[in-house]
């Protein structure tokens, strides 16, 4: 069974997205801080990562984490998962954000699964 790691500080998001993905047949792990998430990727690499951007301690912490994750394994599919409507709350034009997909929160699980299936 494919393993998906959700890194998000919002436990309700972890619960809802997690259980919906479980229901779709994925194995789901979660971390509530990026440090914990990065540690988990080092120890037991998942098949795909869903990463939030805004964390309580830093507004763009997810981007830093994205860089770290891609440094560990550049081929690991990484979805940035954010409640900002479009990309523009951050400067994506610089092209230095390492993510394979940008998913707006909330997302209907069908759409998320469609995207996931394109990668794993």
């Amino acid at each position: 069974m494919q393993r998906i790691l959700i890194i998000d500080d919002d436990e309700d998001i972890i619960e809802t997205v997690g259980s919906l993905l479980k229901f779709e047949g994925y194995n789901v792990d979660f971390a509530t801080t990026t440090e914990q998430g990065v540690e988990m990727i080092k120890n037991a690499p998942p098949d795909l990562v869903l990463l939030d951007i805004m964390f309580p301690d830093k507004k763009t912490k997810g981007f830093d984490a994205a860089g770290e994750i891609k440094a560990i394994n550049p081929n690991l599919p990484l979805f940035v998962f954010t409640a900002i409507n479009r990309e523009y709350a951050f400067d994506f034009s610089k092209d230095d954000i390492k993510a394979d997909e940008f998913i707006n929160k909330p997302v209907k699980v069908d759409r998320l699964v469609d995207k996931i299936k394109q990668y794993i």
Binding site: T16, R86, K105, P106
Partner: protein
């Protein structure tokens, strides 16, 4: 000495405009004087110093050609303020001297052309500081006063305007000179004080405007923050709804399912509204550095936007269709084009009843990319069509069909289209459907700030 301030002057938009205006006026003066000389010589046979007057006119023509040459040659270059200052001073002083020569040899105080000095004083006060205007006026008054006195004491000859008025008394001329000097001083005083008042008001207005702009920006950033904070919890609520509806939490009764579906729909609407507010706040809080452009595949942009609305279309049972040539490219700002297409598609789906069609067609038209979003929806009636782009405006039928809505969607679209230097046209028939035509330039280096349409390029 204080710097001259032609650029800050409220009367002119740019320095180039002033210089061009000066040169044009001078050409007109050359033509005018030449015509008068020709007419008076051949038709009226005035006794005038034609040789001297013709030479003076010729000098004016030569000087103006030189100014014109320098103007077009250095137009594109950056000139120091000091150099611009000098260029203006040379032109003004040259004009004063030539006019003085012209008038002196054609009757002096009797010549109506002397009144052009008033005009000169007014122009000078538009361009220079009060101190410089006072200096010019004083010199002028001194020079004409001296000439008049010298003529009175018969040291300088009088060149009459008409053959028969050599009898005009130099005493009368002296009185006229005094009156004229008074007129010049009054003119200088009045115009400089009016101009100073206008400039002060303009500066105050600018300060107020900047203050207002920064407040507006703070407000928009605040909206951006708040809406983001609201979006998080809503995302969780929406997720919980989906869990219940999918039966993850256990078997649910049909009625419960119905109620939760309604709750979920309202949540979705709320999310759309928040999305619009974020777009709106984004457009308002943007500054010069925001709208960079990039070459994008039109087909890819379209497919992204279609996939964003496909679930909604499925829920509403609206059929979506797309047409776009494979290799179509556009260099533009990605966020803004997504705002345009996303909002137009969402609106089209929202206001199309079950079983209807929405299509998005892109094609190349010269240097523009032409997008058409067409629907078979409720349409817009004729007297409302021009208001649909207004902020917060919602048409009568839209309000009936959909309770939740901000009326911001199309106003955001228009702002984004403006920012990308494009245009948008809407055709609609009530009850039949609407089509929105967006024309965007296929290649732009930078998007404009939506609010800054009046900001003009200095060299244009």
């Amino acid at each position: 000495m204080q710097e001259l301030s032609p650029i800050e002057s409220s009367a002119f938009k740019s320095l180039n405009e002033v210089i061009r205006w000066f040169i044009d006026l001078r050409w007109m003066a050359c033509i005018g004087v030449s015509l008068v000389l020709l007419f008076s010589h051949f038709l009226f046979s005035f006794y005038l110093q034609y040789k001297i007057l013709a030479i003076t006119t010729l000098v004016l023509v030569l000087l103006n050609s030189t100014y014109s040459y320098y103007f077009y040659r250095y137009k594109k270059q950056y000139l120091q303020r000091r150099e611009i200052h000098l260029f203006f001073q040379v032109q003004i002083i040259g004009d004063y001297i030539l006019l003085l020569v012209l008038v002196f040899f054609s009757g002096f105080m009797v010549n109506p052309l002397i009144f052009f000095f008033v005009f000169h004083i007014i122009i000078t006060s538009f361009l220079f500081t009060t101190r410089i205007v006072s200096l010019y006026t004083t010199c002028l008054v001194f020079v004409i006063g001296t000439i008049s006195l010298l003529q009175y004491f018969k040291i300088l000859p009088v060149y009459p305007l008409f053959t028969n008025n050599s009898s005009i008394s130099t005493q009368v001329m002296l009185v006229q000179t005094a009156g004229f000097s008074f007129l010049l001083i009054i003119t200088a005083y009045l115009t400089t004080s009016i101009i100073n008042k206008i400039d002060a008001r303009g500066k105050q207005f600018e300060v107020e405007l900047n203050r207002y702009k920064s407040l507006d920006k703070i407000k928009s950033n605040f909206i951006l923050q708040v809406t983001h904070e609201i979006r998080g919890p809503l995302a969780a609520i929406s997720g919980f709804h989906e869990m219940i509806l999918r039966g993850i939490t256990g078997e649910i009764k049909d009625h419960t399912k119905e109620v939760i579906t309604k709750a979920d729909r309202r949540t979705d609407n709320l999310l759309i509204i928040i999305g619009e507010m974020i777009d709106f706040a984004y457009m308002k809080s943007s500054d010069d550095s925001t709208f960079t452009t990039k070459e994008l595949s039109v087909r890819k942009i379209i497919s992204e936007n279609i996939s964003n609305v496909s679930i909604r279309a499925e829920q509403e049972d609206v059929h979506l269709s797309v047409a776009c040539p494979r290799h179509l490219k556009i260099k533009t700002n990605r966020d803004l084009i997504n705002i345009i297409l996303g909002n137009l598609l969402f609106n089209a789906i929202k206001y199309t009843e079950t079983g209807g069609n929405v299509s998005l067609i892109a094609s190349e038209k010269g240097h523009e990319i032409h997008f058409v979003v067409e629907d078979t929806g409720i349409g817009i009636c004729d007297n409302e069509i021009e208001k649909v782009f207004d902020e917060f405006y919602r048409s009568r039928r839209a309000r009936v069909l959909e309770k939740d809505g901000t009326g911001l969607g199309l106003s955001i679209v228009q702002k984004a289209v403006n920012a990308l230097q494009g245009r948008i046209i809407v055709y609609s028939k009530e009850g039949k459907g609407s089509s929105f035509h967006v024309f965007l330039p296929a290649y732009i280096e930078k998007g404009k700030i939506p609010g800054g349409e009046n900001a003009e390029d200095f060299n244009n």
